[in-house]
Amino acid sequence: MALLQITEPGQVGAREHRCAVGIDLGTTNTLAAAVRDGLPQTLSAAVPSLVHYRADAAPLVGDAARGASLEDPANTVVSVKRLMGRGADDLAHLPEWFGYRLNCDNPGVPRLQTAAGDKSAVEVSADILREIKRLAEKALGAAPDGAVITVPAYFDDAQRQATKDAARLAGLEVYRLINEPTAAAVAYGLDRGADEELIAVFDFGGGTLDVSVLQLDKGVLRVLATGGDSLLGGDDFDRALADWLAAQAPASAAFARTPRTLRHLLAEARRAKEALSAERAVECRLSPPGCGEWRTELPRAQFEQLAAPLADKAVAVCRRVLLDAGVQPAQVQNIVMVGGSTRMPLVRARVAEFFGRELLTDIDPDEVVALGAAVQADTLAGNRAGGDEMLLLDVVPLSLGIETMGGLAEKIIPRNSVIPAARAQEFTTAKDGQTGLSLHVVQGERPLVSDCRSLARFELKGIEPRKAGAARIEVTFRVDADGLLSVEAEEAASGARTAVEVKPSYGLSDDEVERMILDSAAHAGQDMQARKLREVQVEGRRVVDALMAALAEDGDELLDAAGRAPILDAGRKLEDAIGRGDADSIRAAIERLEACSESYVARRMNRGIRRALAGRSAGEFG
């Protein structure tokens, strides 16, 4: 046991054991855990992530809202995690299964219309977290001091921010947001195992699939690559089965596709799916309110036939993420299975076959993330002795950069950089006498700004007017431990400085992230051409501008009309070429202009040197 020292009276409790909880805020279920007596334990049964709103009463959360989700779907919010940090545009293509009425007066923050008024996704999540907090208090006998909340590795800035806001609204102090796969690996204690190891985390939840490759290096756990499918999860298996059941039902039991019937079908499909993880066959009973009743026997083989395309998709995601990490399946030593969907024997078989290895399934796949978060929360609360501290490193999901001349995106923090990260890059002015700089922060893999996601725009003012290229502007990107970005720009000479916290009104949806990454590979060749063209256009523009400025200064003095004519002509031709947008002809025009202005440039230089030397004695150069 710990050895105690005698303390001054009244100081006991100064270094008190703080009570920290880990919360897995999931699409389908939410669960809290805490380290008690040295071991992480869940604090209650999982709470379904359901909120039922009533006109004149407090909302019902969890199991209490379960019945209502069938009776009154319009006022019951399910899978709210899918709406977190999303704008109205992102929600336009929500599946009809959700059956929500949206109020999009503010496109940045769409609200769900309920009997208790319009609710944003953040408010709904806060209601879930409030319930979790209440349960945690009951189990611990005290209010938790703080929490670690897990988010999918793919959550972008807006989604992470929304999660933090929800926690704050629920009265929880957030120590940190950590990625779900990292939490799962921590729960298995993999961070304390071998010196070096590759770990894959296969997290197949209700709504999403996240596959991550983690690298353990001397106690440091680092996310090598992460990827997934935000529209593939247990819900999809339910949906496939529900569709099949609806199609099999005889005409006498014709089920209208109302939100109520659909939810009933889904509930039955889910029950059947879960039963089939243990049973070889199950009886499905369908009796939606207002429709007839129908029963059928469903063998596991039939279900697996329906599920096979979804399992194939899941394995394809594994393949892609491993490719991204530059890792062969056989190199992965441990595969952590997370999420209820990994209970399906079909899913386990396919994943084990892909990696050619036994899977880690000892810890309840529905609890493993919350348990890992609890361990991390305990560490952050300062309850662990010094040497026990664990270093968790995560990565940014998409490159972060800035728009430069010609609409090119310059990457400052590349994708998969370890966070927290801070990187600075120097930029300069493009025009003589420029006193301001407009900064455009973008996120994405493509080289052209127009193909990336715009995160923020801000201006640096008060730069001392100087020649183009003379000012030195340092732009610093910082991504904190929660994955949130701040950008700062500073001009060295004038000390002008400006900063922005990037909190976009709405960010990228997971599938957009996915699409952007895939796009960058698909368009690699085309992008390179576009980049080359923009670069040569920028260069051509610079050459023309510099020459015109020189001619205006001393062209009349150093050249006669006959000498000026070919230079002006070549300049005009270069401008035309820039306008036409053909890289090769721009390059040729630049060369022609440089060739015919060669003697003029030489004369300018000679005169410059003569001026510099004039009025000085020879001794000064001795």
Binding site: M1, L3, L39
Partner: protein, 107 residues
């Protein structure tokens, strides 16, 4: 009802009290620690409280409030060195379970 000190513990307590220059003895206690049961405390004692029980063992006054005594009755306090660490340790017959880090216990 009694609390005992090992010779090593009593010697150290005397040393510490002497060095501090004041105090009538040492107060032992237990406190609840949020989410993991109970933990022991040792403080200097400057005065006797109304619900304190006072023991004397090997020349050291030991004070315990009534609420803590139930948990500590029959316990022995030892002084030990473990590697670079040294400090006091409770050998408590009432203890049923101890948490992994050894900071707290339950009864």
């Amino acid at each position: 009802m009694a609390i005992t000190l090992t010779p090593a513990a009593a010697g150290r307590m005397k040393d510490f009290l002497e060095r501090r220059g004041s105090g009538i003895g040492v107060r032992l206690g237990v406190k609840t620690t949020g989410c993991s049961g109970l933990a022991y405390t040792i403080e200097y004692a400057d005065q006797v409280g109304v619900d304190d029980r006072v023991f004397e063992d090997r020349g050291v006054k030991v004070l315990i409030d009534a609420a803590s005594l139930v948990y500590l009755d029959g316990a022995e306090v030892d002084f030990a060195k473990e590697g670079l660490n040294e400090g006091f340790r409770f050998n408590n017959p009432n203890e049923k379970d101890r948490c992994g880090c050894g900071e707290s216990f339950s009864i």
